[in-house]
């Protein structure tokens, strides 16, 4: 019991919504498990579901890391469907999470940070949108700053 409380007290809870398995792996590799409890969702529906489950368990995520293209595909047709909002992309997922929890702490980490799509994510409520070019080191550093 004491151990669980200590775990809850010191570890930051993160939900990473990204369809790229390698990105999920690298985020976990760069953020020490001693400080972060990281939950992975590979599409928007899973992301919303996980956020709800964490809330119900009393484990409200301290930070949600959101990609934009959540198609799980490398085809450009699927990319365009996501971009046009025909499927549950990062923007729609963030909207659903914000509906559930208006105080949700969301940041973007995406290849489209500097495009109109990234702007839409910010307008939806993401506190900032980081581009992939900052690398995982840069990303990890920024996350630690935000959650310090």
């Amino acid at each position: 019991m004491w151990g669980l409380e200590a775990d809850r007290t010191y570890k930051k809870i993160m939900l990473v919504v990204d369809d790229e398995k390698e990105v999920q792996v690298l985020i976990k590799a760069y953020l020490p498990s001693s400080k972060f409890e990281i939950h992975s969702a590979y599409n928007g529906i899973e992301g919303v579901r996980l956020y709800r489950e964490l809330l119900m368990k009393g484990k409200k995520p301290d930070l949600v890391v959101m990609d934009l293209n959540l198609s799980g595909s490398r085809k450009k047709e699927d990319l365009m469907k996501q971009f046009r909002g025909e499927e549950m992309d990062g923007v729609k997922t963030t909207q659903e999470i914000m509906k559930m929890d208006p105080n949700a702490n969301v940041i973007g980490f995406t290849a489209y940070a500097h495009l109109e799509w990234g702007g839409r994510l910010k307008a939806t409520g993401a506190r900032e949108v980081l581009g992939r070019e900052i690398g995982f080191e840069g990303f990890a550093k920024r996350v630690e700053q935000i959650l310090a």
Partner: protein
Amino acid sequence: MVELHESILDNLDEVIHLVNRDMKILFVNKAIEKLSKGKIKKDEMVGKNLYDIFPFLKDTGVDKEYERVFSTGESLKTEERTEYHGSKIYTVTSKIPIKDGGGKVTQVITIMRDITDLKKVEETLKELADEYSKIVELAQEGICIDDENEKMIFVNDAFAKIVGYEKSELFGKSIFDLVGENGKNILESQTEKRRAGKSSRYEITVYRKDGTPRVLLISATPLIVDGKYAGSISVNLDITERKRMEETIKLEREQLLSIFEGIDEPVYVADPETYEILYVNEVMKKSFGKDIVGKKCYEVFQKLDAPCDFCTNEKILGKNFGNTYVWEWQNQVNKRWYRCMDKGIRWPDGRKVRFEMAIDITDKVKAEEEMKRALDEERQFKLETSHYFFNPICIAKGYLELAKEEGDIDKINKALDAINRVEKVVKNIVTKGEIKE
């Protein structure tokens, strides 16, 4: 026999009575009862003095008339108006002396005819004539009567005012004296018509006494007496101001159309009630044909059988009159795009009509479409580039950084996979011109 005479006399409409020198009534027929509307009975009169029954006869000098007939022995015919029991009665009376063997007048027979109804008709006719005369005098139109030599024998005040003369100055003058050379030709032709018994209406310029011209619209009718031309009567309307206004309107119309003609874009004007095309400029004629004025706008411009369901008339007419409505539309006949500027304007004849100027924006629309397509392509290019390059490069960098620290072959392989992904995309771009993995 006496009874027979009395019966005949009683059936006459004229009142007949007989008096002696003492003015005693010896006989009166039944007509007196009708004349007095039953107030006097014939039997009550006989044997009485005429002046006792009709005392007012003395006041009106009738007693003197009887004295004259008795003394001169000559008949007398008079016309009287009598107020009797509140009614006016008009009569014509003949007093005829009856003489004895010695030539002395012993009795006078009076025959009195009631002409009240006739008089009333006369009075009504006179009143009507007076009224008519007043109407003629007060009429705004100049009324003029000429004799058979075209000399004026009557003009009303309005006619004198129009031509700027005193009425007295016009009598004996001819309308020929008031016109110029051109006017004289018109008048000669018109006079010929009149002499042939024909009425007509025509316009002519007359010159007032002070020399200023006035345009008259004359409606003239011949006066035919006993089958002969006796002159003419004319009603003269001063239409100078109207003509001036017509000229102004004509000028304004010409100016307006000249402006429309100078516009290099299609311009048309249509009647919003009938959809009839009232005007098209040359540019429009080149596109839709030369003979389209008078045809329906929807038939010519849209090839429709009924008014267009997108007609903008209500946006520029009624309470919106004067507003300009701008809209863009692709004409389904020639497939070109237009920016239409519609406005309700007042046509020179006073009608509120639809004006439309359509600027051909086909090239602009195409350029905009081209630009939009280019922007879409650019956006897609950026998205795809970000998708296919940033992700694998980021992953490769991530693993290489880790491998550097840990000397882990597995991580180096993963980084190489990510780099291979980028390499594949680059190869596809170079060989196929496509961004894909």
